[in-house]
């Protein structure tokens, strides 16, 4: 059974149909990249899955349960973690605290007013592990807004990981990163994703990153899926080339 399944998602903004009947399915452990020219609707699909936006038609299923239109925090609770296109962290808090709060979200004891020490300790352990995985441990004590842009993006990924998700959704994780930062990010991500059955849905513009990380690719163009499959297949797909390069014929 697919971990995530979208059926016929439609979302309009006024007269513009940003997402026009998009369906896709992700298996457990799969790394799927969603690509497409600007304005293809990639981020909108993301927002529809995480329920930040509600679809005008279509459904989203996660692990067999329908999650369409659920409150955003409920979707996150079910095991979906995401990063944002414009990097979202807690600026004035330390990197460690950023990730700890993310880790704490899964702890049912997080409502505690008193006796919270065990909760804090538990979430700190998870946080430190995530920071380690993303090679951010040496920056753990620094304020999040003092980190370099690349490190902030990795911090966001660490936060997402600390939520112990089943589906990790990365929205343009390498945007704004230098070549060297991108390499480091890709290496880190690849190492992290090799173990375990974490599923990943990834929006990316950088094709090299896509080909290094993804098991399969979905191509969007003008709100529709025009290709779906293994990277090699998609690479040679005529429609895809036309969408990106505007070739005629």
């Amino acid at each position: 059974m697919p971990l995530l399944e979208c059926r016929g998602l439609v979302r309009r903004f006024g007269a513009l149909v940003a997402v026009d009947g998009v369906s896709l399915a992700i298996e457990p452990g799969e790394i799927r990249a969603v690509i497409g020219p600007n304005g293809a609707g990639k981020s909108t699909v993301f927002n529809l899955i995480t329920s930040t936006l509600k679809p005008h038609a279509g459904e989203v299923f996660f692990a067999g349960e329908e999650i369409t239109g659920l409150p955003v925090h409920r979707v996150a609770q079910m095991g979906i973690a995401r990063t944002f296109q414009r990097c979202h962290v807690f600026p004035a808090l330390s990197a460690r605290e950023n990730v700890r709060i993310a880790a704490q979200a899964r702890d049912v004891r997080r409502w505690r007013f008193f006796g919270g020490r065990t909760v804090v300790a538990a979430s700190l352990a998870v946080a430190d592990e995530a920071l380690e995985q993303l090679r951010l441990t040496r920056h753990a004590g620094m304020r999040a807004d003092m980190l370099s842009h690349g490190d902030q993006r990795l911090l966001e990924v660490a936060m997402a990981l600390a939520q112990k998700p089943r589906l990790l959704m990365l929205d343009e994780p390498t945007q704004g990163l230098s070549i060297e930062e991108t390499d480091r990010a890709v290496q880190t991500l690849r190492g992290m994703l090799k173990k375990g059955d974490l599923s990943v849905l990834l929006v990316e513009h950088d094709m090299e990153v896509v080909f290094k990380l993804a098991d399969s690719i979905t191509v969007l163009h003008r709100g529709r899926v025009i290709a779906d499959g293994a990277p090699d297949v998609v690479k040679t797909n005529v429609e895809v080339r036309r969408a990106y390069l505007g070739e005629s014929g």
Partner: protein
Amino acid sequence: MIRFGIVAIVGALVPFAVPQYALTVIVAALIFGLFAMSLDLMVGYCRLFSFGHAAAYGLGAYSAGLILIHWKLPLLIGIALAVGITVLVAIPIAWICTRSTGVSFAMLTLAFAQLGYAMLFRFRDFTGGSDGIAGIPRPPGPFGMDWFQARNGYYFLVLGCLLGSYLLCRAIVRSPFGAVLAGIRENEAKTVALGYNTRAYKITTVVLSYGFGGLAGALYAGFAGYASPELFFWLTSGHVLVMVVVGGAGTLVGPILGAVFFVFLEHQLSQVTDLWPLAFGAIFMAFVLLAPQGIWGFLARVRKDSNAAA
């Protein structure tokens, strides 16, 4: 904790060191300190600006006053009941207000406070209308306790409530719950995306804030012996907001200092000049413009800088 202990000890010695008339002013300052600290939970820790916190104060005061006058329950029980009533009323208020953010939230809180104000006049048989209720007693008990009936005794009651509330608030703010409030303050969208039901956190914070504010109001009723409609008026909400901002939002201690600062200043200056409220507002604006982190926030930064330099 050591600093807290020192403060507690100093506080305990105060009634024996100052003249009696000064004690009255000090009690008023401490009550306002509690009121201001209660607002800080909302404003400083959750960035929920309220223009209607007078509602908590007024609710606490009027509830306590009416209970103590009509039912003649022991003072402590009357105060506890008043807090309970304030908390209960705060729940639907919090639920409605937190549906909005920013200015809409502020206006909603103001609306509720002004509604309360209007209701005082509507039900004037019950609440005494513009005269308010007077002659609020401090009935003894339970177990025949009556130490709070004396001026010194009431001082200790207020001091105890303030210190106890401070410890409670501090625990709340440092708890896992408090960490989520920090997240909401820094980036609410992100906090939601992490899986937190931020609405529920905000409602809880508002209710807690009203609860402590109601305690302050109830203590005031017992202290002054009367409750009047000004307690609900928007200027009261304004004064306490000023105390929080000038004292230093988000520090718990700052607002208490802000309250003490203002009560003393008002006491001194109002005898000398009629321009006092004007100065009050002007000082507030100066702080918003020049020192938004408030007195305590400024001092904290100075201390941090000197620690870093050391």
